[in-house]
Each structure stands twice: as C-alpha cells, then as structure tokens.
C-alpha cells in the first residue's frame, strides 16, 4: 500500500480509536457479579415478578400493588452498585437518561414525584420495613431477615439464571 494512503488511513482511524477509548471506562462499572435482590415490605401481596414486570414498576407504569396499596419506589444514590445494576439491566439507561426520564414522567402528569433516593443500606432497610408497598434493590449478600425477597423470572438471587447481576 502506498505510504501516503497508509498515513491518511491512520489519521482517519484516529478519531475512531479516541472514541473507543472514551467509551471504554463506562464498562468498568459492571465488573462485579454479585446478585441484586429485589426486596419489598413484608405485607406486599406479591412473591414473584417477571423482569418485564419489575421494569414496569420501576418505570412508574405500574403504580399500585392493588387498589389500596401504592408502590413506593426506593433507589440507591448514584455510584452505588445496586443503582448501576438497576440502571443497566432494568432501565437500560445512563445516569443522565434516568434523570431526564423522571423529569419527563412528572411533566407528563403521570407521577407526582421521582423514586425516593436512599444513601445507605441501613436507610434502605428502615424505609422498606416502615413504608407499606416499598420496593428496593439490595446486594443479595446483605439481605436481612424481616424483608420479603421477590423471585424475578422465577429465580432467587444466587440461582444460575437470576437476571439482576
């Protein structure tokens, strides 16, 4: 190949390489592999949800467990692994898209408030225990007794085909 053409090709391919390098760090967040358990208030009348149903709940499209019990959504603050998994697997959104999604959702008069943000596991457990209809996502290694762990697609955390990891 002509050296000039080689040089031109190298220059042209540079932006592609730069873009690949810039894109790479986002995948570093997904290096862990612990399961994320879906926990609800013990009185919630549900034991099993499909991943699509979990998504419906998280998107605010399902807002009631039944006529008397509204869903109360709890999500960990940014950078927590639980949040990373929820955004990647369920929402399939970036952090910015997630924020924009909830601003738009409220603006469309579909909900009055975004999910409640929790800053620690302790706070998460306290809130799920205290608020009827609450649903949260916790590291399966840290699940405490007294909360109901939901099956997702028929699987519990630790099962081979459990989808939230």
């Amino acid at each position: 190949m002509n050296p000039t053409i080689k040089r031109v090709l190298a220059i042209l391919s540079l932006p592609v390489w730069i873009c690949m390098v810039l894109q790479h760090p986002s995948s570093a967040q997904t290096s862990h592999s612990t399961d994320i358990a879906v926990v609800v208030h013990p009185d919630t009348p549900i034991t099993d949800l499909s991943l699509a149903e979990v998504r419906k709940v998280l998107l605010g499209e399902r807002q009631y467990w039944n006529s008397k019990l509204p869903v109360s959504l709890l999500i960990r603050a940014p950078v927590a692994r639980e949040r990373d998994v929820v955004l990647r697997v369920i929402y399939q959104m970036s952090e910015a898209q997630f924020k924009q999604y909830w601003v738009a959702k409220i603006f469309r008069a579909e909900v009055t408030s975004p999910p409640k943000i929790v800053y620690s596991n302790d706070m998460q457990y306290d809130l799920v225990s205290a608020i009827p209809g609450a649903i949260a996502f916790v590291d399966a290694r840290n699940v405490r007794p007294g909360l109901k762990v939901l099956r997702v697609d028929g699987h519990l955390p630790g099962d081979r085909d459990y989808p939230l990891r």
């Binding site: 149903e53 601003v103 409220i106 469309r108 408030s113 596991n121």
Partner: protein, 427 residues
C-alpha cells in the same frame, strides 16, 4: 445574515467549550467517591454481621432489682446507638410523603433564527418560560399544573396550559378533570411545552402551539389506565370535553360554544418484551361552530395513529393524522392529512451527549377546506442536539420548508432555508 450567523456560531462554540470544560469532573475525584462508597458498604456489611452476632448471643435476663449500674465507659456507646436509631427514624419520617407535597419545575429556552425568507429578520428570541407544578394531595389524589409565559412584540402573555386534578383508583382507572393536552397521537402528550424534553427545536406542524390542525388543548374530564392485556401492555384514554372554541386553536376554557361535547378515545400499546416500542391510535369527534361566516357548523373527526421507538439509540417517532370536516348544512366533506417521521441516534461517544436527528413533515389541506387555511407544507429538518448536562442542551438545526397555498404538486414558491439554534433547559 452571514455575519450574524458567523458571530452566533463563534458564541455557540465558545459556550459549548465552556460547558464542556465544566461538565466533566476530574476522574480522580470520581474514583475517590467510589472508593469511599465501597468502604461504606464494607463497613455496613461488617456492622450487620456484628448485629447478627449480637442478636444470636443469649440475652441476659435482667430483673429491675438486678439491673447493674451502667459502667461509665458503656454509657456513651448506648447513647450513641440511641442517637443513631433516632437519626434513622427521623430520616425515615422525612422520606415518608407529606400532603400536600408541591414540587415546582421550570423549563425555558433561548433561540436564534436566520432564514432566507424575504421580509424576515434574523435574531434572538425568548422561547416559552414554562412552570410545572405537581402536588400529591393524598395517597390517591394529585394536582398538576402548567403555566407558560410567552414573549410577544409588546408584552408577555400568560397561559394556563394545563390544570388537572386526578383521582387514582388503581392502575386500571384514573379519573382527571381540568385542562389537558388532548390525547391525540403521540407528541402532544409526550413533550407538552418543555423544549428541553423534545429532541428537536420545534414541534411538528400538526401539534404546533397556536396551530389549528389538531386541538392541542381540551377542557373536560379524562379517564385513563392500563388494560389487562398480558404481553401487549395496552393502555387507554377516554375523554369528554368542550372541544374547540370560537377561535379554533383554543379550547372552550370559559365554556363551550355549543351544546355538543367533544370526545376522544385513545388506545396504545407498550409491549414489555419490546422495551422502547409504543404504538397507538386515537379518534376525536367534535362539532365546530365558526362565528364567521354565519355561525357555520361542521362535524369534525380526527383519526390518528403513531409508532415510536423511544430509546435514544435509535429514536424513531412517526405520527399520522387525518382531519375530516363535514359541513352540517351542505354536507360538503373535506379531508386534510399530515404526518411526520423523525429519526435520531444518540451517539455512543462523549458520554452519549450527542444526538443527530432528521425529521420529514408533510401536511396537505385541500382547496375546498373551509375550517383551516388552505396550505400544503413539506419540511425537512436536519439537526444536532448536544446535552451539556443532564438538564441543559444545545440544539442546532437546518430547515428547508416549502409552503404552497393550493394543491400539492405545484410547489412553485421558492423553498425557505433557515438555520436555528436553541439552548433549552429545565430548572
């Protein structure tokens, strides 16, 4: 025009550069936060292990008489634990919803436009300043309001865009009263008046603010909810209201202009297996009374269908509307059609902040049309959206518009080319 465009382009690039510099936090800071959070998680895990051990140990059976005096060193620890518990309880109480819980959010945009249309000037203009109110009044009752401030040549106009009170029974039945955006098609209820929400600078012709093609607003009641439909993910909207007012671009806010109520029905599907897909159809019926000439009455039917894929990579929006008018006296019938197709793709680089897009629009109103102004319009839009942060964006667009009164196919008027810039944000 060229000079002003050049100046604007320089300003735009400078602003973009500044925003770029501000939006990316130093990587080591992010790393430190990550390390700290991991450390917190480890400590939390350790604490839960200790608590579990403590709970497993046999509890000493103490009677009141045998309670030993607290050791001086143990007292602060007990007090500390009690303090932690009360802090957590306070946090829980704080997180519980209180009524009414008013939340206010604003949307605004600043625009610049320059076209080659004779008689128009290039320049800046303020878009809409839009305030949105959302308040839960109880567990099942909510209020939503939207107020816009619009710049006019001599003043600002204030408009109540939406004012809705909603009663939720469950996911299958929610009943609202007030002033809505009419659930015809997709765009009108997806983006409302917030320019920041929509990918493009402007709304399509069929849902233009102040436009007449479809009634953008609706005063009355609206029932909505999900339909038990398994994998189809169906939902519905059913509304009854005043319909178009004396000025057909406006609803009858202060009362209907005739004794005929308009109604609207919409069914749409969001199949859970095809996350991002939404398709729907709607029908709207009204009786229009035009004061000029001679209080002429018309039956109006609007049929609409849409198909959208709302994920950013790619984003695809398409919507078709047919507006059918029948003169009640002469039975003369006209059909006007309009559609748009919009394609956008959020590029994977630069934190997915860039989104190029293209939209094609077409509208046809026949010469015999008596309710609308006769006009055919074909428009192509090519643009780029750049999200400078999660809540602010820059958009730049090139538009080519052909307007022609009369029949399509004789687009003799020169096309209008224009460059448009916008910064839109929410606060």
């Amino acid at each position: 025009m060229q000079r002003s465009l050049l100046v604007f382009a320089v300003l735009f690039l400078t602003a973009t550069g500044v925003a770029w510099g501000q939006s990316s936090p130093p990587p080591d800071q992010t790393e430190q936060v990550k390390i700290l959070l991991e450390r917190i998680q480890q400590l939390e895990k350790r604490m839960s292990e200790l608590e579990a051990k403590q709970a497993a140990a046999p509890a000493p059976s103490l009677s009141a008489a045998k309670v030993p005096l607290p050791e001086p060193a143990a007292a602060p620890a007990v007090q500390g634990h009690q303090h932690d518990v009360s802090v957590e309880q306070a946090a829980v109480r704080q997180m519980e919803t209180h009524y009414p819980s008013l939340q206010i959010r604003g949307f605004a945009d600043v625009d610049f436009s320059a076209t080659d249309q004779k008689g128009t000037n290039s320049g800046f203009n303020l878009g809409q300043l839009d305030l949105h109110l959302a308040s839960a009044l109880s567990q099942k009752i909510s209020y939503f309001g939207e107020i816009t401030f619009n710049a006019r040549p001599t003043q600002y106009t204030v408009e109540v865009e939406r004012s809705i009170i909603r009663y939720d029974y469950n996911d299958y039945f929610k009943l609202s009263f007030g002033r809505f955006h009419t659930p015809i098609g997709y765009w009108n209820t997806a983006f409302h008046h917030g320019a920041w929400l929509q990918t493009t600078i402007d709304r399509p012709f069929i849902v233009k603010v102040g436009g007449t093609f479809t009634p953008v607003h609706f005063v009355g009641l609206l029932a909505e909810g999900n339909i038990p439909s398994g994998g189809l993910g169906l939902s519905y909207n059913l509304g009854v209201g005043n319909g178009r007012g004396d000025v057909i671009s406006r609803p009858g806010d202060a009362g209907d202009i005739n004794n005929n109520r308009a109604w609207v029905a919409k069914v749409y599907a969001r199949p859970p297996k095809l996350y991002g897909l939404e398709l729907g159809a709607s029908i709207y019926q009204d009786k229009i009374t035009l004061p000029v000439p001679n209080n002429q009455g018309y039956r109006e039917w609007i049929a609409s269908a849409y198909l959208v894929w709302t994920k950013g990579s790619p984003e695809f929006l398409s919507e078709f509307d047919n507006v059918h008018h029948r003169n009640i006296v002469t039975n003369q019938v006209t059909n006007s059609d309009a559609f748009y197709v919009q394609f956008a793709y959020r590029l994977p680089w630069l934190e997915r902040s860039l989104k190029p897009y293209y939209r094609f629009e077409y509208a046809h109103m026949p010469l015999s049309e008596q309710v609308f102004t006769h006009q055919d319009q074909v428009e192509s839009i090519l643009g780029l959206r750049y999200d400078i942060s999660s809540y602010a964006t820059f958009k730049t667009e090139y538009r080519n518009t052909k307007n022609q009164p009369g029949v399509l196919g004789s687009l003799a008027q020169p096309a209008v080319n224009g460059l448009f810039f916008q910064t839109a944000f929410t606060f």
